[in-house]
Every structure is written in C-alpha cells, then in structure tokens.
C-alpha cells in the first residue's frame, strides 16, 4: 500500500530523498545509481521522468533530462526501470517526478495502473497545482498520492487550503526559483517551515527541496524539516563520475551520515 509505505519511510527523521532522472548519464547507469542510492541510505527516491520542456528546472536537471531523452527514454522505460529496481531488491518508496503532459498523454487511468504495477508509491507533478490536479488525483485513487508543493510565495490562506487535503508528504520549495544547487540555505526557510507547520494536519511530513547541495546544508535543513530532497547536486555528482554507481553509493552514505540523529 503506497501511502502506508511512505509513512513508514518517515519513521527515520529527517528522511533523505535523492532525485535522479531515469536515463542519465545512460539508462543502465541510472538504474545502477538508483539502486545504489536505495541501498546506501536513501529513505525514499524521487525518480525523474524526463520531459522536453522542464520549466521548473535549472540547467543541471534540464541538461540531464535532455540527455535522457536523447538516450531514448520514455515513460515506458521509466516504469521498466522501477520494475528492475524492485527486482533488485530496492524496497523503499519510489516517488515519480515528472511534468504533466507525458502523464496526461499516457492517459490518467493507464498511468495509475502502470505506475502501481511497476512499484511506484506516489507522483510529484511540478506544473500541476491543486487547482488543476483534480482529474489526476481522482484517477490515482485514495492510496496513491499526488504530492502537493508549497513555495515561499504561497500565502497563508493558500497554504491552509493546500495542506488540508494533502497526502503522503508536503514538498516545500525552499527558494523562489527553479531547481539547482545554491551556496546557502535560504534565510527565510525556518520561518516558512514554521508557518506551514501550523497549517499541516498532524503527522504529515514536511520535506524541503530545491537548492540543497551539500551534506552540511542537508543537516541544516534536516534540523527543522522531516525530509531533505537533493536533486541537482545528485545529478551533477553522477554526471561527473567515472563510476556512477559508486558515486551514488558514496553520495547516499555521505548525506545519510550528515543527517544521522538530528531530526526536528
């Protein structure tokens, strides 16, 4: 049961959630790297579905997903990759992350069926605000969450509404901006998290993503959030590595160590 799995994953706080798109640097490397992340300290993984026009992403993820598409990756290959990860014994929640058009094109019912069958536990769609997510959420049903996002620009009123029916966890965008590593954790983050805590139903984990680049930054965020999402830094580390699988394992261990025992 996906929702229950997600809940379990947050027993360890703060949870570590790396992001990698399927197909980068190559399809085989990405599957190996995802496996290595899953077996070396990730609590959940965001598995990226490449899209031609990723407008919420900065240059690193943009370039990586472009490469993935050039490598011939489709939504079908993303599902195949999930199945392969499950076959190799990766048991933690796998959350799909992708833009709406490829999901819509597959058909919402078909997407749910195929995603569940492949072993996905939820989906994040950055260009689908709650106002437009009704059809997808209905198709996904009660147990397969479409993760909601909050931004620093989100008003208190809006946050209240978004939180009221959120499921799985909340994705807090730490910066006003696109994905990409930043030098520093945003100064407004503690206030943002505190504001959202007040609006969140009991027990719904708050995960912070966008901009977190190093284990030290992750630790800083991990003191006040229930989960830490690391995207561009992870993608960059793999892209530069001779052995992506080894790099992924090292990266997961380093972040895991930095986050040990510091939960909020």
């Amino acid at each position: 049961m996906p929702l229950a799995e997600i809940k379990l994953a947050f027993q360890r706080k703060p949870a570590f959630m790396p992001y990698l798109p399927v197909g980068y640097p190559t399809l085989a490397d990405s599957i190996d790297a995802l496996e290595a992340l899953g077996k070396n300290g990730a609590d959940l993984i965001e598995v990226g579905i490449p899209f031609s026009d990723p407008l919420a992403d900065g240059p690193v993820i943009q370039q990586a997903t472009h490469t993935a598409l050039e490598n011939g990756v489709t939504l079908g290959s993303v599902f195949d990759a999930l199945r392969e990860l499950r076959r190799r014994g990766v048991a933690i929640p796998l959350i799909l992350m992708g833009y709406y058009n490829p999901i819509f094109r597959r058909g919402l019912e078909a997407f749910r069926r195929d995603a569940l069958a492949a072993g996905a536990d939820g989906v994040i769609v950055p260009d689908l605000p709650p106002e437009e997510s009704g059809e997808l959420e209905q198709a996904l049903g009660g147990d397969f969450p479409c993760i909601r996002m909050l931004a620093p620009t989100t008003s208190a009123d809006r946050a209240q509404k978004i939180c009221a029916s959120a499921k799985g966890f909340l994705y807090l965008v730490s910066v006003t901006g696109v994905t990409g590593a930043r030098d520093k954790v945003s100064a407004g983050l503690p206030e943002f998290i505190a504001r959202v805590r007040g609006a969140v139903p009991q027990g719904l984990p708050l995960c912070v993503g966008f901009g977190i680049a190093s284990p030290a930054q992750a630790a800083e965020v991990g003191r006040i959030a229930d989960g830490v999402i690391v995207g561009s830094a992870c993608v960059r580390a793999l892209g530069e590595a001779q052995q992506p699988k080894l790099a992924a394992a090292n990266l997961a261990r380093a972040f895991r160590a930095a986050l040990k025992g510091i939960g909020p």
């Binding site: 407008l55 709406y100 094109r105 978004i162």
Partner: protein
C-alpha cells in the same frame, strides 16, 4: 480561486509551478480592477491613440481583389501601428498594468521579434527595465528586430536549449519569472500561457476587432462575410475575431503555419494534424499541442518565426469546438507567394506571419462572389523578414505568381521550392 473564468470550455487553466500561482492571482485581480478603472482605460487609450497611432486604417486592396476575381478584399492595417505589428496593443496594456502593480522589471519572450520590440518600446516609454528571451534560431532569422530591441534599451537573452525558437524562449522566460516573481512582470506576447493571460491578451487585442467592425460598417455599410487572420499563439486572430463574435454571418478563419506540408510533420499546425497534435499541456495551458506519442513536445517548423509554436491559444480551441471559427493552413510556399503578391500589387510588404492570412484570402476570394467582402488582419509589416525572404524569392518569375497556381496550392513560386526539389 479565480475571479474570471479560467477556462474556455475545457481549454486553458493554470498549469504552472506553485511559486507562480500567487503572482497569477495578483495579476488577475489587478487586471480586473484596471479593466473597470476609467483612469486606467483612459491612460491606455491615450497611449494607443497618441503613441501607437490608433486607430489603424482599413485599406481596400483593389488590385489584389481584381487579380483574384472574387470577393472584395480589405486589410486591417496593424502593420501601420507603431513598431509595425499588433503586438504593441498588448505590450502597452501589460506594461501599464505592471507599473500599476509596482513591478519595475519586465521580461518577455519573442519569436518574430515583434513582441520583443513592442515590449522594449513600452518599457522605454514607461521607464521600466526589460529583458527579452529569444531562441537563437529566431535571433538569426529576425536579426533586424534584435538590433531594434537593443537600441530600445532592452537586454536580449539568447536561448540555446531545445529547438531554439519561441517555445524555448517561453521556457526561459518562465524560469526567470519563477526566480524573480516578486519584482518582475512577465509580459507574455500571445493569447496563451496560464490564466489570466489568454483572457487578458484578448482584451488588450480586442481593439483590432472593435475598430475593424466600426470601420467596415462606415466604409461598406456592413460587416464582412469573412474575417481572416494568422494564428501563432493566437493574439491577432482573437483580437480580430472578438469584434465579430456576435455577428453570426461573419465567417471567422484562422490560418496556421503549414510549413513544408502537414504530412511530413514539418509545420506548426495544431488543428490539422491529428497524428501529431493532441490535447495536452504546454506553458501553463491545456490545449492542442504538437507532441510525440510519448508526450514530449514536438519540434515545429515555419518559415515565419511568429507562427512557429507547438501549442495554440486555448480560446481558439474552444471557438473551433463551438463551430464559430474555422482553421486552415498555409504552407511556407503559399505564404511566400502571397508575400510577393501583396507587395507587388498593393505596395504593402506584409509580415511573413500575416502573409499566411493573405494566402488564405488568395485561395478563398476567387470562390466568393463580387458582392462579398473578405477582411484580412494584416498583423504586421515585413521589413523584419527581408533577410529570410530575399534568398527564397530569388528567381524572378516567382515574384508574379498566377492566382491559379496559388489556388490549387502548388505555390510553384520560388518559395521553399528549392529545398523541396532537393528532397525529391
């Protein structure tokens, strides 16, 4: 959470990152206030009249009408608006709105460069900072407009991702907006994007249709039988159509870029290629989108940078469902032939975008009766296109295509003929 309807039938909406949602809510609220604010309307109107040169005239194209031998053809002369295209109507409106919202930085995207020039112009006039995103391919084919924007004080930012055309310029503009949303207004150039843009841009472009209707009544005593406009994102067309929506006898015809032909996929027609165009979401809007079977956005092609875009404005999809408007295509070759035809017969060099609308008139007018009237929205002037057109119209015979060769769609004029024969 919206004030105005956010969809046209099932099309439109707001498919954007959460970071932008509050800005869209603010924009919508401010736009509705401004719309009902006499002072704002007077200010905008003043600029449209004294600065942009409105109303633009309607010209009777007598030699073209005679040559085609059918309907009487009239041209709504948006090419005579300041900066040379209809884009200035929307740019002035949104720039004033930005000023009202206290936003001093403007970003814009541009394909043909006309919207970039219009935005840069409005910003110069109002003293706002301006950055324009433009695909590298479009920068090369619309070089004069790049110079103009820089001269006007705008920063032109080349976009090298994807197809390096309008779609990618919009991606970059949205990324900039996501990052600087608190200080920056995104001056979107067509009737697309997330709500309220399609509605707002239509309202700012309505002036085309409103004027055209009044002018046609004054000139001919009646409304036209057909009103034709090219459709990139759809702003000049929706502006013209709005003026005649309540006149059921006026046929509304939008013309998309047929590029090298529908069958080969090298085109930008969202309505006539059921194989590649499907319902989808691009740049915040649910509408028809050219895409792959896997839902990736397809690369498009048109000789005209302003029509070279993978999605169509949502209101057009709705008007088509309603049967109120009809959409056709003109190929590169047809547009080029129409481009030289209008130039030589009327002394008016149209924008390549507008030439698509002229090409439809060339096909349609001969089938109409002499007592019928066809109105073309001449959305812009063609100076910007001379670099593109000159090599393509190299062979002299092509300069005077006969109506027959155009009517059967051969377009054997120079056009892209060379490239075509290479492929054969």
């Amino acid at each position: 959470m919206t004030i105005l309807p956010s969809k046209f039938g099932s099309y439109g909406g707001r498919y954007v990152p959460e970071t932008l949602m509050p800005a869209l809510e603010q924009l919508e609220a401010e736009f509705t206030r401004a719309r009902d604010d006499r002072a704002f309307q007077q200010k905008l109107n003043g600029l449209l009249v004294d600065y942009a040169g409105r109303p633009t005239p309607i010209t009777y194209a007598s030699r073209l009408s005679e040559r085609l031998g059918g309907a009487r053809i009239y041209l709504k002369r948006e090419d005579l608006a300041h900066t040379g295209a209809h884009k200035i109507n929307n740019a002035l409106g949104q720039a004033l709105l930005a000023q009202r919202m206290g936003k001093r930085r403007i970003i814009a995207e541009t394909g043909a460069g006309q919207h970039g020039v219009a935005s840069a112009t409005a910003c110069a006039l109002l003293g706002l900072e301006c950055a324009v995103y433009m695909g590298e391919v479009d920068m090369a084919r619309q070089a004069p407009n790049v110079f103009r924007m820089r001269l006007l004080g705008a920063e032109v930012r080349p976009v090298s991702s994807g197809s390096r055309t309008l779609k990618d310029a919009i991606n970059e503009a949205i990324r900039d907006w996501v990052t600087n949303v608190e200080t920056t207004h995104y001056l979107l150039g067509s009737a697309l994007g997330p709500h309220p843009y399609p509605t707002m841009v239509r309202e700012f472009q309505k002036v085309i249709g409103r004027e055209a209707r009044t002018q046609m009544l004054a000139k001919t005593g009646r409304t036209p039988d057909a009103a034709v406009a090219c459709v990139g994102g759809g702003s000049n067309a929706i502006g013209l159509f709005s003026g005649f929506l309540d006149d059921p006898d006026v046929a509304l015809i939008g013309v998309e870029a047929g590029g090298e032909g529908i069958a080969g996929g090298k085109h930008a027609s969202r309505f006539s290629d059921p194989e590649r165009s499907r319902l989808g979401v691009l740049h915040g809007t649910h509408t028809f989108v050219l895409q792959t079977p896997d839902g990736q956005i397809a690369e498009t092609h048109s000789v005209s940078a302003g029509l070279d875009y993978a999605a169509v404005g949502p209101e057009h999809a709705h008007l088509r469902d309603l049967g109120r408007a009809e959409y056709t295509v003109a190929t590169d070759a047809e547009a080029l032939a129409a481009f030289s035809l209008l130039s030589t017969l009327e002394g008016i060099i149209p924008a390549l975008e507008s030439a698509h609308a002229v090409a439809e008139a060339v096909r349609r007018a001969p089938k109409m009766k002499p007592d019928q009237i066809l109105l073309i929205c001449l959305s812009g002037r063609g100076d910007k296109d001379l670099d593109t057109v000159t090599p393509l119209l190299a062979s002299p015979p092509s300069l005077k295509p006969s109506p027959v060769s155009l009517a059967n769609g051969e377009g054997k004029s120079g056009g892209t003929g060379r490239r075509k024969s290479e492929r054969k």
